[in-house]
Symmetry: C2
Subunit: 343 residues, 2 copies
């Protein structure tokens, strides 16, 4: 039996899980065998809370990793690799955090410090959270069996990850997959994005921007049954799900909004497909799951915009591992020794 530990260090929660024989299971899944979502042998979840400075969190993480490893058992003396998916911009493959607004960290040698703490028994890999999620879906989720994968998550923002020829593409500076910040507008009216740029697809179709847009247009008097739908559902705020229901019922304002936004995401996806030629596109995240009408319009726009030869090998699938994708992916990456830090 071989153990690997995955950690999901987000802005809200710290999660940790130990898995058994993950690499062997992923190998089997790649051959088309198996396929159940992996169940951790031990898991733990707690709020990140405060203090969240590097010293405090590194100490907590090391303690939890050692505790989970002990509880999971495993052969005496055997290494237990640890992978951490972190909501941060990384600078290198040694887990240096360039910036994490969620953790309020800047230029922290997180990976090296934690690796030194854990010692040789726990080979450590630190990954961007969306990359870890993507790799989880690739290894044991919706993209198992594929070798070239684009995963795109449309939640509050828009993030993406790439697997190229069976290997996670991290890029020159760990920033590969930044599909949320491809530009869909570049004139004077291009929408400002929280990243500091303008015209990013996220600034139009990212969940928080869509929410803001809905609120502003309805406050401005847009006529729509979305308000009634929200009221009937007992929701104070009209959200994208209500707008999607309104669109399904033929509401002109809702349909108009979706018809404006869908091509922006659809074209961004098509352009990414033209570049990397994946056989699997994984769509996930909180927004598209509750907006089936928008999702369908996005896929239609994608199919119009992508060259036919690139659509031929492509299958579009839903993310399958849900909130566990990052835990599975980071554990699997570490189990396979991807970008692990020599301590």
């Amino acid at each position: 039996m071989s153990l690997a530990i995955g950690v999901d260090l987000g802005g809200t929660n710290l999660r940790i899980a130990a898995y058994r024989d993950l690499a062997a299971r992923a190998d089997a899944a790649a051959r088309g065998a198996g396929g159940d979502a992996p169940v951790p042998v031990v898991q733990h979840k707690e709020p990140v809370g405060e203090p969240r400075d590097p010293d405090a969190l590194i100490a907590r993480l090391a303690a939890w990793i050692e505790r989970v490893a002990a509880e999971a058992g495993g052969a005496a003396g055997a290494n237990v690799p640890v992978g951490i998916g972190i909501a941060a911009m990384l600078r290198d493959r040694r887990g240096t955090v360039a910036n994490s607004p969620h953790l309020r960290w800047r230029d922290v040698a997180f990976g090296e410090r934690l690796a030194a703490r854990l010692g040789a028994r726990h080979p450590l890999g630190v990954y961007n959270d969306v990359n870890a999620i993507t790799y989880g879906e690739y290894g044991l989720g919706a993209a198992a069996g594929a070798q070239n994968v684009l995963a795109v998550y449309v939640g509050t923002g828009i993030g993406g990850g790439l697997v190229v020829d069976g290997r996670l593409a991290e890029g020159a500076s760990n920033c590969a997959g930044e599909i949320g910040h491809v530009k869909v507008a570049w004139d004077d009216r291009a929408a400002p994005c929280a990243c500091g740029g303008r015209g990013c697809v996220e600034a139009y179709v990212g969940g928080s921007y869509v929410q803001r847009r809905i609120r502003a247009e309805l406050a401005g008097g847009a006529p729509s049954i979305a308000r009634d739908i929200a009221t009937r559902a007992g929701d104070a705020d009209v959200h994208a799900g209500h707008v999607d229901e309104a669109a399904a019922l033929g509401d002109a304002w809702a349909l108009g909004l979706w018809q404006e936004l869908a091509p922006l995401l659809g074209v961004s996806l098509a352009n990414a497909i033209a570049l990397v030629n994946p056989e699997r596109l994984v769509l996930g995240g909180g927004l598209l799951g509750r907006t089936p009408v928008l999702r369908q319009a996005v896929v239609m726009a994608l199919e119009v915009a992508a060259p036919g030869a690139l659509l031929e090998p492509l299958t579009i699938v839903e993310a399958a591992l849900g909130d566990d994708a990052g835990l599975v992916g980071s554990a699997l990456l570490a189990a396979r020794g991807v970008s692990t830090i020599a301590s």
Copy 2:
């Protein structure tokens, strides 16, 4: 001494060259040593001409490969890998040509048939021509030493290639790098492209489209000194180089045209960079080389549109190997056993 043969099978010329110790030289170049463009020990060039049906060309290629291998010497009995860069859409990694308008081929088992003809002494790899060119620049040209490379060639059309973590990204169906067909317009006025799609960046900034646009606007009476520049140079037609000279002299029409086109290519490059996070962007092809004003505007647009974190590791360089890049790249790919066909 180890030999490898590169073949460049275009629509016009058939070129073939044998190189010595190419993989060892590329390894040295990756470490920062060496760096002169490789010189073939034997080379040959002839027009593709007619007949260009698969039977005829496979026979000619096999004969030339054997002749060049014999002339190049090499150890008795040693394998001489052969890489072919072909101006074609490939269907798989066994050299099946889905479509080559240049050769007028459709669904030709080119790789397998040629591999059977060549036998075990010549392990054969068949590559998309732009991929081979990209790999040449990566291995022994302008991108030597980089591990993540985007190469974009703006000639008659626009083609691209990707190296991800030191490996050529061919994609699920050999179509990776199709940056010419990313969409920069998706409304009713989006320009039709020869690919059958609309709004492709190639349909705006590809050389043949730029040429057509220049001709149409000048025929329509656009006031510009580009005509005089062409006349003084003794050229019957005004081409992009003349327009660029006019732009450099402040010609309003020329500047306006470049200001319209530059962001389309610049944003396409920036969006590709956001996705794959390369440390080297290689720009090549016939158009940008003779339009320095346009090139500069493209780079400016790219730098505005790309997220800062992705510009940080990036260097933009000119293609260095010229017409030999495809020969070098295909020979190097075969020497390294990339996608070679088991015969």
